[in-house]
Symmetry: C2
Subunit: 233 residues, 2 copies
DNA sequence: CGCGGCTTTGATGTTCATCAAGTAAAGTGG
DNA sequence: CCACTTTACTTGATGAACATCAAAGCCGCG
């Protein structure tokens, strides 16, 4: 279940994420990050960490797809969000908490860049531009999650399913045909309904020729109509 | 509708919030903040700012109660959270966005301490300890909002109403008898249901002797039972 | 092969949103 | 201060949306 460190540590100077996250980095700080980071690769289905685990790393996703979720005492999961490339995996409480407040597991084989949390704090304390940049990014990530929660909450089941299908198209895959990285149950856990309702709604969309379904493969045939349903028409 | 600046600018050295927010402040930085801040007082019902307004201040609540909410095109509001003393009013996107992504209005007469956003950025850039402290606080605030959203989402109407009643008791007022600072409609907008359902549920709680209602005045008579309902028993 | 998990559909009853109607409270203008 | 308007609150009735239960097919895995 543990991720596997890469044999060769990548050179952060070449890292395509440098410009995304670390604009304000001096070469020395980049070197610091580089020395204190580890890349882990995970296979689909593996767990990155669980709610309650000690926070050891600040980590972001270089590639792949993961889900952030919470489990209640009855064992039911609630998916907080699905994160893709360039998204933070550690967010929110990473600097204030000692333990993770949610679990992360992998939907599509993923590479995580993990920076020792204490090193991260030291670097942030030395480099205010970096702190500010981090704050901006973490703020944007939080805003997105909160916004998504409100959007989902105000829709009925049809709207919710349409909303998440459009999210897969527009935000995650960028095209109208894709393999669902999640089970029907996980969609239900994401939008706050039951597995059966998700299936039923997908079937209805299929019968109305809005989508085509072949197991995990989905093709959105009529994005405009889905958009209308998502906006609750 | 505009808040009214205090005649006498308070001395930040004496500010009871100093220890809450600004542990890492040097005296010079405190002076900077003090010179660049304004206190605004608002009456119940007034609007602090609206979704889409330019962000001018970083602001937090010294006293009173406010609601953060979004309005959709149909004019329906969704309450994101209710914020009390020591809570941030500007949060999340305040350093990355130029415009507010939500509106804020006042539930109980409030005093806001507002720091010019550009000054705030400058100070944060000069003072990494302050940046870090800010990041921790904003992270905690975001975590709380996201957590609350998930908790509400997974409950049925009875559980939702019980949850928010307990929030008023335990978190906002600290006692079992209080005046509701919101209308029934606003409770509905907070927990994602209709006004009628809120009223009906409150009436049922009343008939079961779990609470006593007298207009806006609520007394929780049986917190343990409400707790059970909130935890979906 | 058999087991368990995922998917699908149907049947059923509960929960919930909506509509309607009436009372109470609060604000407005003469 | 009173008539008027508006907003908040409350209850009931109704139908639609939804969760739950049940059963069966499918697939991968040990």
């Amino acid at each position: 279940m543990k991720g596997h460190p890469m044999d060769s540590i990548c050179d952060c100077n070449q890292c395509e994420l440098r410009n995304v996250f670390f604009e304000s980095f001096s070469d020395e700080d980049l070197g610091d990050i580089c020395r204190n980071k580890t890349e882990f690769t995970y296979l689909s289905g593996e767990t990155v960490f669980r709610e309650g685990d000690l926070i050891r790393y600040f980590s972001y996703l270089k590639s792949g797809l993961v889900k952030l979720f919470k489990s209640d005492q009855a064992g039911k999961d609630q998916i907080i969000t699905i994160a893709g490339p360039y998204d933070f995996v550690s967010l929110l409480g990473v600097f204030s908490d000692t333990r993770h407040s949610y679990s992360v597991s992998v939907l599509e084989d993923a590479v995580l860049c993990c920076i020792d949390i204490e090193s991260m704090k030291e670097i942030a304390l030395r480099n205010p531009g970096f702190s500010m940049s981090l704050m901006e990014r973490m703020g944007a990530a939080s805003t997105r999650i909160i916004h998504e929660g409100l959007e989902i909450r105000k829709r009925n089941t049809h709207g919710k399913v349409a909303y998440i299908l459009l999210k897969f198209c527009n935000e995650i895959y960028g095209e109208c045909i894709f393999d669902l990285p999640v089970s029907r149950r996980e969609i239900a856990e994401n939008i706050g309904t039951t597995t059966e309702n998700v299936i039923r709604t997908l079937s209805e969309f299929r019968k109305e020729k809005l989508i085509r379904i072949n197991g995990k493969e989905i093709e959105v045939l009529n994005p405009a109509a889905l958009e209308r349903i998502s906006n609750y028409g």
